[in-house]
């Protein structure tokens, strides 16, 4: 039995409605309890800001595509190199760090749970191997279905039950957590070097549209009672004028689940562009947030970009190729048979570029114009918009108009004309930041019931104590202190153990991987479907028996079982 007692903590715990109370937290064997014995280890938080451990609900840190980003970037590995020290392994890299680099840096910032944004089922084993080497965070994997042949066949046949059964089988085989759609239908078209330009355009050879894929899988998701909603990377990412596609997509979404959203729209900054060319691109954040504010069934995340050199990586192969044709830098592409695609290119976001400045402003506008912080979560689509180590700066920008004004003064002159950021007075408070960096994620991902994202009795003791006294810092003026404070916790506690102290990792990690087993009735299980098996054996290049991820790849797997309503 191990016990820990955190006293004098200034707690903000939005899920439980606690906002800045000074209180003590008792922990036994990794969970929060009513009280502990006097033999417990004691941490005095000295009234510092204490939050549930940070949760990133959309980041790219593990798997085939991320590792290929590393593989092709020895130039980035020269940054961020640290030696083996104490319990810390060697790390390399800034925007595509090694697994240990990701894990240590997230931990230093108080993050204890991460959702990998995109995992191709065929390559799931790889993602899980890297999860094991990302030891300080609990991990979840978005599983890609955007170009899944069996799903598209079911959609064409208007068979929601079949689509749900395919999803259930695949999530189980891949040990995945949620349904991810990346440019639905577009990745299959990219198998021929094409893309789709509207959600009502048909996927070549499959006679289905992105809109049909999206709506069918939203229904299937609820039939399977999955903890998270469909997680969507909309069509037409990064194209001037794409906001209309985004709005059209939002209009498709019914409100099906009282406990959470029915659609999670990711990195919406990249989907909120007006204009028709790169010359006249402008912000449509107002239109997007007007839609979001009237649709509680949708949660989005920012997809904020920050000015730096970084790497874009996504399952959206055609988008990456278009970007490559603009940048003329290196380009990798990796299409996955019968499932999805992916692309990677390095980019530099520069204040000299009007387009980049507008993108930067749009992300902030989205966060400031969305009324409920529960509906707009903070992230950068790491590392696409910026590496996650930039989150503290984004927090600073959202909390301080003065900081924004100072930054705005350094931007390309066009930015002011084509965005509304200059006019936005709103400054977010500590509670709203806590929602946007952990509580909102826990609710959206459906893991609050797993004891994530809050500090109630029985919750997992994942806690971040920041060297910030909210009663002594005025974030609007002293935004530098806010930024510094969120860069390095005083303590990061993971399942009741102090894992990081003042940015130094002090123990070996022992993370868990959450995955979902949605049980469907015997008669519609894919492993009993002769046609499914026949097509699998004929068109995949691995045998069906070698496809599912074995349990030993999840040494600390946490299965969430659901009973499908089929």
């Amino acid at each position: 039995m191990t016990e820990l007692w955190v006293k004098n903590a200034c707690v903000i715990d939005p899920i439980r409605g606690i906002n800045g109370e000074i209180m003590d937290i008792a922990i036994r064997d990794g969970r929060i309890v009513e009280s502990v014995s006097d033999r417990a280890d004691v941490i005095d938080a000295h009234r510092c800001l204490t939050l549930p451990g940070g949760i990133d609900s959309h980041t790219h840190v593990s798997g085939t595509k991320v590792n290929f980003g590393r593989y092709m970037s020895p130039e980035d590995m020269r940054a961020g190199r640290t030696k083996r020290r104490g319990k810390m392994h060697v790390t390399s890299g800034y925007y595509v760090p090694t697994t240990f680099g990701n894990s240590y840096r997230y931990s230093a910032m108080g993050y204890t749970t991460l959702l990998e944004g995109a995992m191709a089922p065929l390559e799931a084993r790889h993602t899980h191997e890297e999860f094991t080497a990302t030891p300080h965070q609990d991990m979840l994997a978005n599983t890609l279905f955007d170009g899944n042949w069996a799903v598209m066949d079911a959609v064409r046949e208007h068979d929601v039950r079949k689509a749900a059964a395919v999803v259930a089988w695949t999530l189980n085989a891949a040990r995945g957590y949620a349904i991810k759609l990346t440019n639905p239908g577009g990745t299959e078209a990219w198998g021929w070097g094409d893309d789709l330009t509207s959600i009502h355009e048909q996927v070549p050879h499959f006679a289905v549209t992105p809109a049909e894929i999206i709506t069918t899988l939203i229904q299937a998701n609820e039939l399977l009672r999955l903890p998270h909603s469909v997680h969507l990377h909309c069509n037409n990412l990064g194209k001037p004028g794409n906001y209309q596609t985004t709005l059209d997509t939002f209009e498709l979404v019914p409100d099906l689940n009282p406990a959470r959203q029915s659609l999670y729209a990711t990195h919406v900054q990249f989907h909120a562009y007006g204009g028709g060319t790169w010359r006249n691109i402008c912000s449509k954040a107002e239109e997007i947030t007007r839609s979001i504010n009237s649709k509680p069934q949708i949660v989005m995340d920012m997809g904020q970009i920050m000015f730096c050199r970084t790497m874009t990586m996504t399952a959206d192969g055609p988008m990456e190729f278009n970007l490559h044709c603009l940048h003329h830098n290196k380009w990798s592409n990796h299409d996955v048979e019968l499932e999805t695609g992916s692309g990677i290119i390095p980019v530099t976001y520069s204040k000299k570029s009007a387009v980049n400045c507008i993108m930067w402003a749009i992300g902030l506008e989205l966060a400031l114009l969305t009324k409920s912080p529960w509906q707009c979560l903070l992230e950068t689509d790491n590392p696409n918009g910026a590496p996650f180590v930039k989150y503290p700066e984004i927090i600073g920008l959202l909390m301080s108009k003065r900081y924004r004004d100072e930054e705005c003064a350094t931007l390309h002159a066009e930015t002011e004309k084509r965005t509304s950021l200059w006019a936005l007075e709103r400054e977010l408070d500590w509670h709203e930041i806590a929602v946007m960096t952990r509580a909102g994620q826990a609710k959206a991902l459906g893991i609050a019931s797993q004891g994530k994202g809050h500090l109630g009795i029985g919750a997992e003791a994942d806690i971040a104590i920041y060297p910030i006294r909210t009663d002594m810092v005025d974030p609007a003026r002293e935004y530098r202190k806010v930024v510094e404070g969120f860069q390095k916790t005083r303590y990061t506690i993971k399942r009741g153990r102090v894992v990081s102290r003042d940015g130094e990792i002090i123990v070996d990690g022992a993370n868990a991987t959450f995955w979902v087993n949605a049980k469907v009735p015997e008669d519609i299980r894919m492993e009993n479907d002769k046609e499914f098996i026949r097509r699998f054996e004929q068109f995949y290049t691995v045998r069906m028996s070698n496809y599912p991820v074995q349990d030993l790849y999840l040494p600390r797997g946490r299965c969430i079982e659901t009973e499908a309503m089929l």
Binding site: S62, T64, N67, F68, R70, Y71, M72, S73, P74, D76, M77, R81, T82, K83, R84, H89, V90, S92, G93, P97, T98, T99, F100, G101, L122, E123, R125, H126, E129, E130, A133, W190, G191, W192, G193, H205, F321, H324, C325, K330, W331, S332, N333, H334, D335, V336, E337, L338, I344, I345, Q538, F539, Y540, T541, V542, R543, S545, N546, Q550
Partner: protein, 429 residues
Amino acid sequence: MIEQDVVCPFCGCLCDDLEIETDGARIVRVKNGCSLAEATFMNDTRLPAPIRRTEAGWEEISYDEAISETAEILREADRPLLYGWSSTHGETQSIGVHIAELIGAVIDNTSTVCHGPSILAIQEVGHPGCTLGQVKNRADVIIYWGCNPVEAHPRHMSRYTTFATGFFVPEAQRERTVIVVDTRRTDTTNIADEFVQIEHGGDYAVLSALRAIVRGKAHVIPASVAGVAKEQLVRIAEICKNAKFGAIFFGLGLTMSRGKYKNVRNAIELTDELSRHTKFVISPLRGHGNVYGSNEVFTWMTGYPFAVDFARGIAFYNPGETTAVDILRRGECDAALIVASDPGANFPRAAAAHLAKIPTVVIDPHVNATTALSRIHIPCTAAGIDAAGTAYRMDGIPIRLKKVIDRGYPDDAEILRKIYDRLDGGMGP
């Protein structure tokens, strides 16, 4: 007993549809595999126990003794080299990296002598590729450049490309155009619809010319490039541009001939150029069964796919400087641990010779040419035969190798973990 869907660990194809029959202790029959697979499973003779070189010849020693002495050799070294890793599974590779960071070693894998240049090229321009199933299901134009899959990857064509029935290519043989580029006629060129014979060392020039033609600059190209007539180049450019889905596969003929990584870079840039007209992809034909896995494991742990130098504590990478062949040729390293590979057979003579001058330990299921240069040889399991573990196919798909028999040998991961423990005095990586 018959086991189905067994994965062959021999080459980068990792065919996973083999049927292996065992009688408990031995493999008696291999079905579906090529001749290389059959040899891998059937001709598996090993040392009964670790051996150590003495004045009088080899002596058998215990595993404990062999492990202690190996740890001692590594501990004493000022520039230890850990090399190989391509014929074993990921867990072993990962412990190898941990040992390297612990003792400040150079760790390198067999990419050094095969597709290292491809990696360098990819690091310059990226890699437009795909899984093999994309090619199987879609490709109507296939190019084999500087490789001979009929001999080196015997089932590549039947399982993944030329002869494989694909969803959009139901009549593979009739619907696919096969182009083979090589300096000489081989069994593979005999299958070609179009054979392009290039003078030795002429690959770069031919690739440049093709790129220029695809870009509409044919007027610049002379009548003949490295022995290839301009008309043929123009014809090939047209076939490629008119493809629905084109795939280039290349081998050591491209990576190890004059120009090395610049050849590969040029082929990738040709693929990039063709992608502006139609769908085109390119992929290296990787040799060793899990060489790609060693690249993957090294990359997520250190940031670099091969040739990683931990001498300064941090990871440093610079092929040409930190590659095993170069370190040996310059006589830098003063101890070597060779795992799951045979540099004695594959390295240039001068590089291999240095292994005999320093304490070299081999951990490998089989006696090989490196054994003759070594001080200690520790036999172990063979991944995919009597040990299970992860391997990565040449296209990045991770597959679990199976254990089909038990021969009583320790897993190389277990041996390495013990070596790590002796070096660290701790709990292991």
